[in-house]
Structure formats: structure tokens, C-alpha cells
Amino acid sequence: MRSIDRLFEKSSRALAQRTSRRSLLAALGQVLTGAALIPLLPIDRSARAGEAPATPANPHAKAAKPATDDPKSCDYWKYCAVDGFLCACCGGSSNSCPPGTAPSPITWIGTCHNPGDDRDYIVSYNDCCGKVSCGNCECNRNEREKPMYRPSRNNDLNWCMANADSNYHCSVSVILGVAEK
């Protein structure tokens, strides 16, 4: 775990220092000790104990970036296993389908950690259907996502499959409740 902490520390420092929005933290980071700095940063620590955190190995990998409260950002904590286009960038919101589309009645569920209140939430990932893929705000996060032989945990399937218009447009993440520990 110590090495994981070091990894968090390193990525947190690097991120804080190159992100203008966090310039205050970056300035603080110059004077504060590392151990004191880490709790100030809203890092998503939902990765399971013993698992290494994901790193931004490519532009699509968003898992290691700090969680935000911006529903148009793939780093928003509720999107921890969204693979698709964010409806919030397509005329809808994080839990609402854009006009003219139809929500998918079938879906899969996952658990995301909200660093704001330090709770795990069960979320329902629904697709919005009936128009061609939105193409804005592509988001590819896969925390605790499983292959399609476990469909209740899979985000590769087109969950518009059972809709009258089964074309995939975008994805939302709807809070169902707090996950029991």
C-alpha cells in the first residue's frame, strides 16, 4: 500500500501543479508536506484495497484523474464505469436523456465512490436511444466493469438493444441509493 500511496502522491502533485484551476493547491503544495497535501485533493479512492490505481496510460483512460462535480466531465465521480458519450454534453444531464431520445428500460448497475461525502453509491447506467451516437464528451471508464458474459456488470453491450429504436445516442448515470458496506 505504501507504493500505491506514493503513486497517488506523485500523480496528485503532478496534476495539481499543471492544472490552472488548482493553482492555489499547487502553491500550497510548494510549502506543505506531501502527507498533508494528499487529503486536500479529491482523488477517487474507490479502487479496491490491494488493487493498484489506474493510470492515464492513454487519452481515453480517465480513471486516475481527480473526481469533479462537473457532469460534463468524464472525471465526475458518478461516471466511474461509463463507456460512451455523456448525455450532459448532448442536450440532457447526468441523469436525464436529451430531447427526442428514449431512455433504455434495461440497464446495468455499478458502484461509484463519491469523494464529496466519502460514500459509495449504487448507480444505474442507462443509455438514451433512438438517435445516432452523440459524439460529444466521449468517456471511457471501467471501474469494476466486467466482460459481457457478466451482462449485469458490462458496458460494452448496447443497452438500447430492447428499445423500439435501438440506436445508441448517449449514456447517463442515475443514483439508486447508498451502497451498504
Binding site: 507504493s3 479502487a47 479496491r48 488493487e51 493498484a52 490505481p53 489506474a54 493510470t55 496510460a57 492513454n58 487519452p59 481515453h60 483512460a61 480513471a63 466511474c80 464505469a81 463507456d83 434495461i106 433512438g130 438517435k131 445516432v132 451516437s133 459524439g135 466521449e138 471511457n140 471508464r141 471501467n142 471501474e143 469494476r144 466493469e145 466486467k146 466482460p147 459481457m148 458474459y149 457478466r150 451482462p151 460494452d156 453491450l157 448496447n158 438500447c160 438493444m161 430492447a162 429504436d165 435501438s166 440506436n167 445508441y168
Partner: protein, 382 residues
């Protein structure tokens, strides 16, 4: 003064000569390019066209000339595969009657790879598995007698099709198990949620004769296998998220599961190396080599592209090479394929949609084909 006059005369002569030489271009004839003969270095690159997903296509590309040979249109969230003789491409796809909306038609389309013309189709029930590309959503029996297509509604089953009469023969329920892994003339295996395989054996007419489950060989919670397999001589290698290789021999009446072996040594585990992407391995059958795109990641990084390609000897299970990609300006590799000839090429599609061509023996980068479509996520070859 005389010199100047002579120079001027020479110059004017030179300009006249240039004018003379610049004869008009001859008239051209509009022609139709034919497909070149098949080659072991021809690949079929599936572009999911994720940003306008009703418009997926397959790009045909030649690894020797670096020429794009043509295109096959494959619609929405398609399945794609080649016939055992390599002469026919098949795509299971969906079209909507009004382009992006309207009545849904699921269909399997057959394309002649010598002409790239679509020649036949089979209309399916509207049950086709709409998912990311894998070779296990559509495939022929070894003798081409049957064609199998995966259904997910989300109830799981598969269709048995007749690719000679272009008809649907039957639908076979596979509750709890998905995908179609053809073997022999009449067997279809599916991967089950409980970590084993279901194998359905068909009778001569293509209807179910019997079914059997294998032993459980992977843990879908702790270390799931990718829902794809890397073809090898007698079956497939299934790679897990944490880097275990489960080789399964499909040559007999029932699959035989070999003892798994690790891609990662202790130091690799400490460095958080993992396989990842959309097509996570390729095997050269004669050389007995396995190529895997590897990245440094963790929980949820299983779709990250490889920053290195690691090469293994399948007999000794030892890593024989490690090819870093960043210095070559190749981005995270999402899909990988190797030609099966004696001068093999390794093809790697990256997350910037470029296609890198390597010498598969040395790892030397031969070519980068920029922008091989929009989202190239699967590469097939003969």
C-alpha cells in the same frame, strides 16, 4: 553587348523548348480498380465508427505496399469474420429503415473478398448481440457448413445459419453463457458467467444434439478473462485482466483446459503491468509466439491501450522480447494481429486511430498508417 544578346536568345530558346515539352496531358479513361491477389499481409481492420455508430466499416489494407485496398460497409455495432478459406467476409449487423431510426433489420451480409461486392444476405430475428467487436459474435464451423451468430436480448442464445442456402436453421438457448466459439464441424462453445464454458454439439441438420459444461477455470469476479480469444493451433488462448493465460484445446469433442500460466513475473506485477485493449493478443502459430499489448494500470484499466508489446514463447511461457512504443510515437495499442507467413508482420491499431506495421520477428517499426478510420478496434487476417 554581343554576349547579352546571345544569352537572351538562348534563354528565349529554352523557354520555347519548355513550352514545347509541356504538351497537354492525354485524356484519361475512368476505370474500376480490381482487387489484387490475396496476400498473407492483407488485413481487415474493423472501424467501429464510434462517433457515428451506424456507419461502421472494414478497411482492407496491404502490409507490403501500405495501400488501402478497399472498404466493406458493415452498419451498426457489427459482428465481423472471415470464412475458413478466406474468400468471403461476413458481417452481422443492424440497419434502421430511416437511417438512424425506424424499423430495425438484423442481417448477415456476405461479401466476396475478390471483388468487395456484397453477394448474399440472411435476415435474422432482431436479437443480434450489439456489442464491441470480437471474433466470437459471428463465426463459421470448420467445414463452413454452418455459420453461428450470437444473440443477446439480453437473454442469451445463438443462431445456426446455413451459409450455402442462406437460411436460418435454428436458435439455441444458452442461458447464463454468451458468444459463439466454433470448433470442429458441429460444436459451439459459449463463455459462462460462472467461469466455465458451455459446449453445444449439433446434429447433421444443425439442431442441438447435446450440451455439456466444462469445469470452472476462471474467476469472473476476481480475475475475469477478456471476452475474446487469441486463435492458436488447436484452440484459443484466453487472457485475463491480471495477465493469466488460459489455453483451451477445442480439437476434441469437449474443450480441454490447460493449466494457466502468467504473463507477469513478480517485478512486472510490482510495476502494475497488465494486458489491455479491445483485441489483447495475437499468436503466430508456426513460431509459437504470443504478442500482447501491455500497460501500467489497475482496477478499471482493462481497456487501456498497450504502451509496450510483450512477446512470449508459447512452449516455454517465457517472455522473449519487450517492445516499448512511446519512442516510436505509437500511442496505446488497442488491437493487435500478426500474419502467419515466414516473414511475419505485426499490425497494431492505437488509440489515435493510427495503424503501426512492425517486423514481427524483430519488432522493427516499418510503417505508420495515419488515421486508419475513426476507431479501429479489431484486426483480422487469413
Amino acid at each position: 553587348m554581343r554576349t547579352i544578346v546571345i544569352r537572351a536568345a538562348l534563354l528565349s530558346l529554352a523557354s520555347c523548348a519548355r513550352l514545347f515539352a509541356a504538351a497537354p496531358l492525354p485524356a484519361e479513361h475512368l476505370t474500376l480498380t480490381s482487387m489484387p491477389p490475396d496476400s498473407p499481409h492483407r488485413i481487415y481492420v474493423l472501424d467501429e465508427a464510434f462517433f457515428n455508430e451506424i456507419d461502421a466499416r472494414v478497411h482492407l489494407f496491404d502490409g507490403d505496399t501500405y495501400r488501402r485496398l478497399g472498404q466493406i460497409d458493415i452498419g451498426f455495432t457489427p459482428a465481423f469474420n472471415l470464412s475458413p478459406d478466406g474468400k468471403t467476409s461476413v458481417a452481422a449487423t443492424t440497419y434502421f429503415s430511416r437511417g438512424s431510426r425506424g424499423t430495425r433489420t438484423d442481417v448477415v451480409e456476405f461479401t466476396d473478398n475478390a471483388t468487395l461486392k456484397t453477394t448474399h444476405e440472411i435476415v435474422l430475428p432482431s436479437k443480434r448481440a450489439m456489442t464491441l467487436p470480437t471474433i466470437f459474435t459471428l463465426g463459421f464451423s470448420a467445414d463452413s457448413r454452418f455459420l453461428y451468430v450470437s444473440y443477446v436480448t439480453p437473454a442469451a442464445s445463438f443462431g445456426v445459419l446455413d451459409p450455402a442456402k442462406y437460411t436460418v436453421i435454428d436458435e439455441i438457448d444458452t442461458a447464463g453463457c454468451v458468444l459463439v466459439i466454433p470448433s470442429g464441424p458441429n460444436r459451439v462453445s459459449s463463455i459462462c458467467e460462472s467461469g466455465n464454458l458451455l459446449t453445444v454439439t449439433l446434429d447433421a441438420q444443425g439442431h442441438e444434439a447435446s450440451r455439456a459444461f466444462s469445469e470452472v477455470f476462471f474467476d469472473a469476479d476476481r480475475d475475469p478473462i477478456f471476452a475474446q480469444g487469441v486463435p492458436e493451433t488447436n484452440g484459443y488462448a484466453f487472457i485475463s485482466f491480471l495477465g493469466e493465460v488460459h489455453e483451451v484445446d477445442f480439437s476434441g469433442a469437449q474443450p480441454v483446459i490447460r493449466k494457466p500460466w502468467p504473463l507477469l513475473a513478480a517485478a512486472d506485477k510490482a510495476g502494475h503491468w497488465r494486458p489491455g485493449g479491445y483485441q489483447v493478443g495475437a499468436i503466430h502459430r508456426h513460431l509459437n509466439r504470443l504478442y500482447v499489448p501491455m500497460h501500467q494500470g489497475g482496477e478499471g484499466s482493462h481497456k487501456d491501450g498497450g504502451t509496450e508489446i510483450w512477446v512470449y514463447d508459447l512452449s516455454s511461457h517465457q517472455r522473449v522480447a519487450r517492445w516499448p512504443l512511446a519512442a516510436l510515437k505509437v500511442s496505446g495499442v488497442l488491437a493487435i494481429q500478426v500474419s502467419q507467413d515466414d516473414a511475419p508482420l505485426l499490425f497494431a491499431a492505437d488509440d489515435h486511430s493510427d495503424l503501426a506495421v512492425f517486423d514481427a520477428l524483430t519488432g522493427k517499426l516499418r510503417h505508420v498508417e495515419k488515421q486508419m478510420g475513426q476507431t479501429p478496434w479489431l484486426i483480422l487476417n487469413n
